[in-house]
Amino acid sequence: MQQTWVGGHQVPHPETATGLDHRKVLMWVFLGSECMFFGSLIATYLVYAGRSVVGPFPKEILDIPVTSVSTFVLLTSSLMMVLALAAISRGDVRGFRVWLLATALMGATFLGFQVFEFNHFVHQGLTPRTNLFGTTFFTLTGFHGAHVTVGVVWLLSLVGLSFRKGHVTQENSLKVELAGLYWHFVDIVWIVIFTLVYLIGVTTG
């Protein structure tokens, strides 16, 4: 019987040609594809950077201190996520729920920051229709926010499922690992966006 390591524990799963679980291979193939998705959005943003005909421009409107805090929250949520995975891999369902709930809450907090930011920008006169910056900024960060939203729903569903017998257990901690992979991916996309759009964007334009 093939064995594999999932979240620190050796668990059996159906035999496959590589010994890897189908779902985990699927998740990584999906993330590889997502790189191209966000890559295209980022390319559009960068190609159009500095080409807006009218303001507001990034320098006038992006708020580094506030976004640094929300970035910090999202990064920390990734730590909560791995701790949740470590907990369920030990069979600690209670700890798993606490950490996962913390992850989802931090994700929701990040989204709250984003809603606040979008709202603020609209009041400052920047909408997706205003100029190229608005068009590309709202599209790129909006798609990222949509990914975070899906992630929050996914994590909360896992918390909910963990109350039904046999759905989220030490043996099928892979379910949690898959959600985690997605969550961390969304996090690293934000690392890129924060650097390119905010830090470099404000410095250069």
Partner: protein, 626 residues
């Protein structure tokens, strides 16, 4: 909502038309793909015929300029996304699990979803004819022809939404086949023992997962421009229509390889079988395929030589484009060498395969002519390019798909296609194809632009246009012969048996048509061309049980009763949910055009379906259905 979906009883029937809606069997899904694609192929062909009638003589008024625009847009979009891609998908679905010795694909329900989403996308695109006019900006939909300022109707909306839904279908299918091929190969089926068709499926699937996100983003941007008033492709706000061209061709050129690599895989299966020789230079053919897939991402701007990218960019893309001809040429030499010295069994499948090599090579050569930027300035947007793409996609992809049809029809249906009609089909096709498309080279060099709805008699284009139109009608006849052959052979064709062609790969080890569970015992693979080796080595040194069937493997492949976890063949159960999710997505797409409330309903159905899907086990514990 989710509980309602869950409350529906799981479908249990394996017969009747309803079972086709809920099926998750890769073979049935493959048949659905094939049948649907043939219908779309006929539709696309009809559109081409109307265009050819309009262009047969100068100054004709068979259709209006506006309808002509819709015809060429829908002809291109249909043939690429609704005919050739799904015909490839039909063969992926039917054959790949059999070829690699698997019981099904890795995610059977996702596979069913891919088909239903594909059908939905096809319906969205084609219903546009009845809902205020079809899209009219070409299959490449260049910005800002597609902007609301120049294109206020819904045609482009249907195009955008149809392609998005088709993109979802293609991505889902590509994810599925990558996991299936990586993870579900039978014992001993190492990557370098895989049939080339399975290899090309893998490469094509990788191209899809990397190319489709780019068109998804481009279409999202266009959609936002149209629905939300953003400025992506609005020049007055600084938007650059060239960005659309780049994003489109970053997808669009790999898409060409999505269309043509699986046919190359078909040829690499047909030629060895009908030459009774192993494929010449198997590793080289495989690596050429990988190289083509990889390099395909680095050539896109050769579609844009005339937009003014400058000499450096034009030179770079000219060189990468010329370079991609190398692995393609390598494959052609390998195919010829495969036939060299073989004992040829000149059945229809082989005729089409040889026809493929010949006409595809001609398309390849005119492609290399385009790769020279300075020469391309003369050819861009003329009928020369139309000739090129039809030599590649008709003379290439479609001929190979016909070869595949004659080769695998017996496996799929249990009956052979009629050989005499097949030969008639082949000769009609190969003659008509050249009569139709070869004159287009002359027209192009004479300066006839693409996508014009008529021309003046003084241009001197009358003769070759008339010849091309006559050829197009001959092609139509040849396709009808093929369809007639399909329909009659389905009922009255000669019985095929397991292995009518003395095949080399695992699909020929099972009955025709294969049983739902594919293999009674999962085969153990000991070499490339495993079945051929098994048959012919055994013939020299007979071993008990080696009579034309794969040995289940003494060393312990899966055998009923051998491993307690595999004591019965456990089949995935049918499910409503894939079709429910696809329906939700299609409704949402219509809602985006007509009313957001409908979009919300569609979205809710899709989400509920996904939730039910997540909660539904892939196979019911008590259901070990056959």
């Amino acid at each position: 909502m989710a509980t309602i979906v869950q409350a529906l009883r799981r479908p249990t029937s394996y017969t009747g038309w309803w079972s086709w809606v809920t099926t998750v069997d890769h073979k049935r899904i493959g048949i659905l793909y094939g049948a649907t694609a043939i219908i779309f192929l006929l539709l696309g062909g009809l559109e081409a015929l109307i265009m050819r009638i309009q262009l047969a003589r100068p100054d004709q008024t068979v259709v209006s300029p506006e309808v002509f625009n819709q015809l060429f847009t829908m002809h291109g979009t249909t043939m690429i996304f609704l005919a050739i891609m799904p015909l490839n998908a039909a063969l992926f679905n039917f054959l790949v699990p059999l070829m690699i010795g698997a019981g099904d694909v890795a995610f059977p329900r996702l596979n069913a979803f891919s088909y239903w989403a594909f059908l939905g996308g096809g319906i969205i695109l084609n219903l546009s004819w009845l809902l205020g006019g079809a899209p009219n900006a070409g299959w490449f939909g260049y910005a800002n022809l597609t902007g609301t300022a120049f294109n206020p109707g819904h045609g482009i909306d249907w195009w955008v939404l149809g392609l998005q839904v088709l993109g979802i279908a293609s991505l889902a299918s590509a994810f599925n086949f990558i996991v299936t091929i990586i993870n579900m190969r039978a014992p001993g089926m190492t990557l370098m023992r895989m049939p080339v068709f399975a290899w090309m499926t893998l490469v094509t699937s990788f191209i899809m997962i990397f190319a489709f996100p780019v068109i998804t983003v481009a279409l999202v941007e266009l959609m936002f421009d149209r629905f939300l008033g953003t400025n992506f492709f609005v020049p007055s706000a600084g938007g650059d229509p060239l960005l659309w061209q780049h994003l489109f061709w970053i997808f669009g050129h790999p898409e060409v390889y999505i269309l043509v690599l699986p046919p190359m895989g078909i040829i690499s299966e047909v030629l060895p079988t009908f030459s009774r020789k192993p494929l010449f230079g198997y590793p080289v053919v495989v690596f050429s395929g990988i190289a083509i897939g990889f390099m395909g991402f680095g050539v896109w701007s050769h579609h844009m030589f005339t937009v003014g990218l400058g000499p450096v960019a034009n030179s770079v893309f000219a060189i990468t484009t010329m370079a991609i001809a190398i692995p393609t040429g390598v494959k052609i030499f390998n195919w010829i060498a495969t036939m060299w010295g073989g004992s040829l069994n000149t059945k229809t499948a082989l005729l089409f395969a040889v026809g493929f090599i010949f006409t595809f090579m001609m398309g390849g050569i005119s492609g290399v002519m385009h790769s020279m930027a300075s020469s391309d300035y003369q050819q861009q947007d003329t009928y020369f390019v139309v000739a090129h793409i039809h030599y590649v996609l008709f003379g290439g992809s479609l001929l190979a798909l016909f070869a595949g049809a004659y080769y695998w029809f017996p496996k799929i249906t249990g009956r052979l296609l009629h050989e005499g009609l097949g030969r008639l089909h082949f000769w009609l096709t190969i003659v008509a194809l050249n009569v139709t498309f070869f004159p287009m080279h002359f027209l192009g060099l004479d300066g006839m632009p693409r996508r014009i709805y008529t021309y003046d008699p003084s241009m001197g284009w009358d003769l070759w246009n008339m010849v091309a139109t006559i050829g197009a009608f001959m092609l139509a006849v040849s396709v009808l012969v093929f369809v007639f052959n399909l329909v009659t052979s389905l009922r009255r064709g000669e019985r095929a048996g397991n292995d009518p062609w003395d095949g080399r790969t695992l699909e020929w080890t099972v009955p025709s048509p294969p049983p739902a569970h594919n293999f009674d015992t999962i085969p153990v693979v000991r070499s490339r061309d495993a079945f051929w080796e098994e048959k012919h080595r055994r013939a020299i040194a007979p071993v008990a049980g080696g009579s034309g069937r794969m040995d289940p493997g003494e060393e312990g492949g899966y055998r009923p009763g051998h491993d307690p976890r595999h004591s019965t063949i456990h089949m995935p159960s049918p499910s409503y949910l894939p079709v429910v999710v696809a329906l939700g997505i299609v409704l949402a797409a219509y809602g985006l055009v007509y009313h957001l409330a409908l979009a919300a309903v569609g979205g809710a159905i899709a989400v509920a379906g996904l939730y039910g899907w997540y909660m539904e086990p892939a196979s019911e514990p008590e259901d070990t259905g056959q």
